[in-house]
């Protein structure tokens, strides 16, 4: 070994050695799975700032607005959304189980729990739609109406995107050799789903519990 490589080993962080191995992927259109996951995580961090901005706006409006609830509206019904919340949060566990099954190469176990997650996500969306259709106020009814629909709608859009991603991953699980090059698709969909869940918990506390 020449001094160069000793030098290299002393200074290099694990990321560098990894980058070395991954580098050949780069020229062919997309990064290695490790890079993809890294990129996806920072994307989610950035995405969370949009939600935090909306949350901040909500808090400012709620604490300073002269008229908060529209006329005739007393507050929000909590029971149905609470059930919805339980279902959405539970789906974080089912998607985790699905991932574990995939990890031990039990494809049918994976598909079963994956499908269950999809069902729970879809039920959440359905519950949300029902709630919206029964509300006495619209998005033009003051800043309360605006922020309520903005937050739940923007989050609902993410749930919808998550369900779509899950469907794609489900279909792709039937392609032979789909997981030969890693499980990035499933892992990132699952991470996205946890993200959507955590956002909902904050949202639920802000909108429904803190009334």
């Amino acid at each position: 070994m020449n001094p160069t490589e000793t030098d290299l080993r002393d200074d290099a962080s694990p990321a560098i050695t990894e980058a070395h191995g991954d580098a050949h992927h780069a020229a062919h259109g997309h990064g290695s799975p490790g890079d993809q996951m890294f990129g996806f995580v920072i994307f989610l961090l950035s995405e969370s700032v949009i939600f935090f901005s909306f949350f901040a706006g909500y808090i400012v409006y709620k604490t300073t607005a002269q008229t908060w609830l529209p006329e005739g509206v007393l507050g929000l019904e909590v029971r149905e959304p609470a059930i919805n919340t339980v279902i959405l949060v539970s789906s974080s566990f089912t998607i985790y189980l699905a991932e574990r099954y995939l990890h031990i190469k039990q494809l049918w176990g994976f598909r079963a729990f994956w499908l269950l997650t999809i069902a729970m996500g879809s039920y959440f969306l359905y519950g949300q739609a029902i709630e919206w259709s029964h509300l006495a106020f619209g998005f033009t009814d003051g800043v309360f109406g605006g922020t309520f629909y903005l937050l739940t709608g923007f989050h609902g859009l993410h749930v919808f995107a998550g369900v779509l991603l899950q469907l794609i991953m489900l279909v792709r699980s039937f392609i032979p050799g789909n997981y030969d090059r890693g499980e990035f698709g499933v892992a990132s969909t699952s991470l996205f789903w946890h993200f959507v869940d955590v956002i909902w918990i904050i949202l639920f506390l802000l909108i429904y519990i803190w009334q």
């Binding site: 290299l8 290099a12 980058a19 991954d22 780069a26 020229a27 990064g31 890079d35 998005f139």
Partner: protein, 545 residues
């Protein structure tokens, strides 16, 4: 070879080569620089007389709105992304960005939103006229009542620009964190890479706030929500918070890579290492951190409570410390060196001088009692343009001249370059210095007409602006002429130290045949240590053509 007649098409294709994308960014953004410049000429043409006589007031208002928007979102941002795209993979020893396809998509969104923005000239009611801050309620007024209006298209363009920037930021951060060549440790990265990293982190945490504000404004404007409409219980000041939470750090997104360019260019032409490399590198990240907590200094007169004014005055003052460290480091870098005043060096030094001036006026603006007087006057406009033209555009020119041989394989003309520098330096000062006395005298920004007492300095500024407009001509001539028939450039015409200078000019598609193994610190001027242990294996040997 770029410039060869059968090869130019790839610059118009969906290429995933970071070097092609880099040049695509540079050329596209320069086109929009000229567009924004024409708007500026109209603005200065109107202001050469006190009366509103050259164009209608609505046209004038559209001009300064579009001038600001184009110069930021379509010139400085994409131009610096272009430089980053071209240089970062080369500087860290990577074959491309982490996500080349994403890179190409992010670039092609630029002409798309540029077109949307320009298309707003064609809709009834004209383009947005609420300034580039788009403060409601003015931005919500929409006198035509149409759903498709200038402000709406403006918001759409800004939103697409945001998506494109986030894609770019994810790509840059991933590339820098994970694609470095063996031996390229964090503290062996050139400072330009550090500053790009610091700038792109700002994009990641700051831009979503603007997106949030823009979405809410768009909903107010189109579907009738009432977030920012005070007549219906909304809060217009909240938008200002969303806007400045991003748009102040956005200035750092622009200036940080310029700090990187200064740090690259000055050592090469002074033949000395960058003074205090680690401190300069780290201070970029400190600036990133502090930039998230200074935004309210734009709102000292917006009905901000006293305690908030004091807190943000303190943070704003504080951010000048890491910035000052950098300036002193650059001065120490050139001190005792062996300077060669090439065009790139002249631009870097000129930019540095004007940056120092803008830093001092920046401290004045941070002091709340002074700010209350000069806020929203031409003093702020002058300060900002010393930053954005004096430092940023001069820095961009320095970078373009410095890396021109690497990008094109041709040498530029020093004579034309120096003429360009002289015109730019004189024009910039002539144009933007008079704005300071105007502001102190109390001339508000964004006015189409003004009291006759302000005439003298406005005439000077307008003449300076026209000189600046002319100054781009030798540049364009130099770039096109040199690219077509300049002298062939060797690998390393400036005897610079850096991975990109070990490759042929321009580098091949894959950059490195064999990845470099980096064995020493950057900026090893005055020392003869090799930068990499395998300099001869980086490229396949081929006969020079």
């Amino acid at each position: 070879m770029p410039g060869a007649p059968n090869d130019w098409q790839r610059f118009f294709s969906f290429s995933t080569d970071h070097k092609v994308i880099g040049i695509q960014y540079l050329v596209t953004s320069f086109f929009f620089f000229l567009v924004g410049g024409i708007f500026a000429m109209i603005i200065r043409g109107e202001l050469i007389t006190p009366e509103s006589d050259l164009v209608d007031r609505t046209v004038y208002n559209a001009m300064f709105t579009m001038h600001g928007t184009v110069m930021l979102f379509l010139w400085t941002f994409p131009c610096l992304l272009g430089l980053g795209n071209y240089l970062v993979p080369l500087m860290i020893g990577a074959r491309d960005m982490a996500f080349p396809r994403l890179n190409a998509i992010a670039f092609w969104m630029v002409p798309v939103f540029g077109t949307i923005l320009m298309a707003s000239f064609l809709v009834p009611g004209g383009p947005a006229q609420a300034g580039w801050w788009a403060y409601p309620p003015v931005s919500l007024q929409n006198p035509t009542g149409n759903l498709i209006n200038g402000q709406m298209l403006w918001l759409l363009a800004v939103a697409i620009s945001g998506v494109s920037s986030i894609m770019g930021a994810v790509n840059f951060v991933t590339t820098i964190a994970r694609m470095r060549a063996p031996g390229m440790t964090w503290f062996r990265m050139p400072v330009f890479v550090w500053t790009v990293l610091a700038a792109q982190i700002i994009q990641l945490f700051g831009l979503p706030a603007l997106t949030a504000g823009a979405v809410m404004l768009l909903l107010d404007l189109t579907v009738g929500t009432t977030f920012f409409d005070p007549a219906k219980g909304g809060d217009p000041v909240l938008f200002q918070h969303f806007f400045w939470f991003y748009s102040h750090p956005a200035v750092y997104v622009i200036i940080l890579p310029i700090f990187g360019i200064f740090s690259e260019v000055l050592p090469v032409y002074a033949r000395k290492p960058l003074f205090g490399y680690k401190v300069v590198a780290i201070s970029s990240l400190i600036i990133t951190g502090l930039s998230a907590i200074v935004w309210v200094h734009h709102m000292f007169a917006s009905g901000t409570p006293g305690w908030m004014r004091m807190v943000f005055m303190a943070t704003t003052m504080l951010i000048s410390v890491p910035t000052g460290i950098k300036v002193f480091a650059w001065v120490a870098t050139i001190w005792g060196g062996k300077l060669r005043l090439s065009t790139a060096m002249l631009f870097a030094l000129g930019g540095l001088v004007m940056f120092v001036f803008s830093g001092i006026t920046g401290i004045m603006l941070a002091a709340v009692p002074v700010d209350i007087h000069v806020n929203n006057t031409y003093f702020v406009v002058g300060h900002f343009h010393y930053v954005i033209y004096g430092a940023v555009v001069m820095g961009i020119y320095a970078a373009i001249y410095h890396w021109f041989p690497k990008m094109t394989g041709r040498m530029y003309s020093e004579g034309l370059g120096k003429l360009h520098f002289a015109l730019t330096f004189i024009g910039t000062n002539l144009n933007f210095f008079p704005m300071h006395p105007l502001g102190l005298q109390g001339m508000p920004r964004r006015v189409a007409s003004y009291d006759p007492e302000f005439t003298f300095w406005n005439v000077v500024a307008s003449l300076g602006a026209f000189l600046l407009g002319m100054s781009t001509l030798p540049f364009i001539l130099n770039m096109i002429g040199s690219w077509v028939q300049g002298e062939k450039a060797p690998k390393n015409p400036w005897r610079a130290i850096g991975l990109e200078w070990l490759l042929s000019s321009p580098p091949t598609v894959e950059n490195f045949e064999e990845l470099p193994i980096v064995v020493s610190e950057p900026y090893g001027y005055g020392k003869s240590d090799p930068l990499v242990s395998n300099p001869d294996e980086l490229e396949v040997a081929h006969e020079p053509n």
